[in-house]
């Protein structure tokens, strides 16, 4: 029977299937960080269980680590306790860890691909909802809770109900200045934050094929913002070439066998998706959010919507609450919104290509006096690469702060936070109330819009410069 890509990967990982029970699915790679693993290791210890496959497990420190003075002990005692607990757990159970200060430390979803541990056709999980990022390689990758982390540590499997499949086709050529981030923000605005619930999304079409691996990771990363636990893109020559040069790429005969398998990882031509959505690339524009969920977004050329124009009562109420929280008036052009802080980073847009794209615009310019800008590379490796290319100097000359790697202001668990009422243009993935700091107001944007906004002080695209 013909299958979609997600169904093929699923079928290749079924350990056990029984009528009326979830399938038992094998997990090829388990990524771990300090915030969602402590209780799982504790559970193992209480039950006197071991980590079944330390050789399929890897840990890094990212969620609450500082991005300044990383050579000093972590100042926040509770953050320090979590990081120390992770280090002890990894030592006790024999799990590889990349700690603060290590060249391979960084955001878990940046580290996996750059080490070449993320490969096509794999099942990948992590106690973090943005695990969907790895779907860019044609892997089935999704976030799990701490109970599931414990389950994977103990058994290297998860009991799962097979999700439905959704195709999102983006065909055509993206206009200048429109990036992967704009594509995914437009998709979420179209299908809503619950539109992908219960589905694995496969992103298809010529505009998706034309994206770099970094761009594909940005798209898959935010699948969860549309409610889908996983999103993926069929692997192609770009994918194979990206993996080929990475440290953990298969070698010799293994490479040939892997490549032969990876080339089978496409949706069969006559396979049926449960839902299909079509988007024309030419109709997309730089996109920004105005509200407090990632579905509340519009093209930058639009104005803040009037809740009274929204027919659905629930949505109208949500829009009213969002505008009140965001301190915005209906009808205000989005381009006239002044921001205080620019955050360039995160697992959505903290890779080398994102830093290059922003630096390209900032080069030789000065930031608006009224803003501060934080540049936080997604990993220590990305930071080193950027420094080799001289990007750090571009950012520093521009007036931005050049930080160390981590999740940072995306979720404000470390000291990088917005103050009450402070407004950001952020390349991260969530504009929830208080996400970047209590009372902080977030506009989600692409790296290009972040850079142009840092120059002008109001939400802007490079075309406005």
């Amino acid at each position: 029977m013909s299958k979609t890509l997600a169904e093929k990967i699923w079928a290749d990982h079924v350990v056990r299937s029984a009528q009326g029970e979830p399938d038992l699915i094998y997990i090829d790679l388990h990524l771990i960080h300090e915030v969602t693993s402590a209780q799982a290791f504790d559970g193992l210890r209480l039950a006197q269980r071991q980590v079944r496959r330390p050789d399929l497990t890897i840990a890094t420190e990212d969620h609450n680590t500082p991005t300044l003075n990383i050579n000093l002990p972590i100042a926040d005692p509770v953050s320090k306790l979590q990081v120390d607990t992770l280090r002890q757990n990894c030592a006790e159970f024999g799990v590889r860890i990349h700690s603060l200060g290590d060249a391979e430390q960084g955001i878990v979803h940046v580290v996996g691909p750059q080490l070449g541990l993320t490969q096509p056709g794999m099942t990948i999980v992590c106690g973090d909802s943005h695990t969907s990022t790895h779907g860019a390689f044609g892997a089935l990758a999704f976030g799990i809770g701490t109970s599931e982390v414990e389950h994977v540590l103990a058994t290297q499997t998860l009991p799962l109900v097979r999700p439905k499949t959704m195709a999102i086709n983006v065909d055509g050529v993206l206009p200048d200045g429109v990036t992967a981030k704009d594509v995914i923000l437009a998709i979420i605005a179209k299908i809503g934050t619950g539109g992908g619930q219960g589905y694995v999304i496969e992103y298809r079409g010529s505009a998706i094929r034309a994206l770099s691996m970094e761009g594909r990771m940005t798209i898959c990363n935010m699948s969860i913002e549309a409610g889908a636990r996983a999103g993926l893109i069929a692997p192609d020559e770009k994918t194979f070439e990206y993996v080929r040069t990475k440290p953990h790429a298969p070698q010799g005969a293994d490479w040939d066998a892997a490549l032969a398998y990876w080339k089978t990882l496409t949706t069969d031509e006559d396979a049926k998706f449960d839902v299909e959505i079509f988007i024309k690339a030419e109709e997309l524009a730089p996109f920004v959010t105005w509200g407090t969920n990632p579905g509340q977004g519009l093209p930058l050329s639009a104005s803040v919507p009037n809740p009274a124009d929204i027919a659905d009562l629930e949505e109208r109420g949500a829009a009213e609450r969002a505008l009140s929280y965001m301190g915005l008036e209906a009808g205000l052009p989005l381009r006239s919104i002044k921001v205080d802080t620019i955050f360039l980073g995160s697992c959505t847009n903290g890779r080398i290509e994102d830093l290059r794209a922003a630096a390209d615009i900032l080069k030789g310019r000065k930031k608006a006096d009224s803003v501060r800008m934080l540049v936080v590379p997604g990993s220590a490796r990305v930071r080193l690469q950027a420094e080799q290319e001289g990007l750090d100097k571009v950012f520093i000359d521009f007036g931005a702060e050049w930080r160390n790697a981590g999740c940072s202001m995306c979720l404000g668990m470390n000291p990088d936070q917005l103050a009450v009422g402070e407004r950001s243009a952020s390349t991260s993935n969530r504009n929830f109330e208080g996400r970047q700091g209590k009372g902080g107001r977030t506009h989600l944007v692409s790296p290009l819009v972040a850079a142009a906004t840092a120059i002008r002080g109001t939400l802007s695209s490079p075309a406005d410069l």
Partner: protein
């Protein structure tokens, strides 16, 4: 895990949709390494508002949360489930839950009940008119009852059985560990390993 067969208590109306897990428990409250004590972070930002429903004395002892659509979106943090349980909630009712939150809740023994939005509206009206209304969430019968009103809900047989028996998922999987070993023996050699480390 405690068995869940049936629970009767009072209910609290949370008339908001798209309640994400950053609202259920903000990231700054996630820094414990245990599964207890997270009740202080539950809806922390909203609880600063004296008008917020959790601050209203008539709902102080509620054990069932009745929320708007798309409850539990966003971050995978299981702390959201622990915070609700630590605070005293046994069940959450909504017309739609985010996938990861739903999975976490049913693994941890917090029963998430899906009812049509019109039933949620009726329950909201009833518990706002009379906050002491006894609400029963009956997993055995798969229904929610308020007085003479009965709202049936669906939950697959396997999950229902697991919750009613209070069974641990890991224990169930370990009974089939031979099939995991057999699968591992047949895995292709090109699949990557994290050890020994290469960089």
């Amino acid at each position: 895990m405690d068995k869940f067969v049936t629970h009767t208590g009072t209910a609290i109306p949370l008339r908001r949709s798209n309640v994400d897990t950053d609202q259920i428990i903000p990231a700054v409250y996630l820094k414990r390494v245990t599964k207890s004590g997270f009740e202080d972070g539950l809806f922390a930002a909203w609880r600063n508002d004296p008008e917020f429903v959790l601050n209203q004395p008539q709902y102080k002892d509620a054990t069932i949360l009745v929320a708007g659509a798309d409850f539990g979106t966003g971050s995978s943090r299981e702390h959201a489930v622990w915070a609700l349980q630590n605070y005293g909630f046994k069940a959450v009712i909504s017309s739609r839950f985010a996938d990861i939150f739903r999975g976490n809740s049913l693994k941890g023994g917090l029963l998430t009940v899906i009812l049509p939005q019109e039933s949620v509206e009726k329950i909201w009206a009833a518990i706002e008119a009379e906050p002491t209304t006894a609400v029963t969430v009956d997993l055995e019968a798969r229904s929610v009852r308020l007085g003479s009103e009965v709202y049936p809900f669906e939950l697959d047989d396997y999950t229902r059985w697991r919750l009613m028996e209070g069974l641990d998922d890991i224990g169930l999987t370990l009974k089939n560990i031979d099939s995991v070993t057999a699968y591992e023996n047949a895995r292709p050699s090109f699949k990557p390993k994290t050890l020994p480390a290469r960089s």
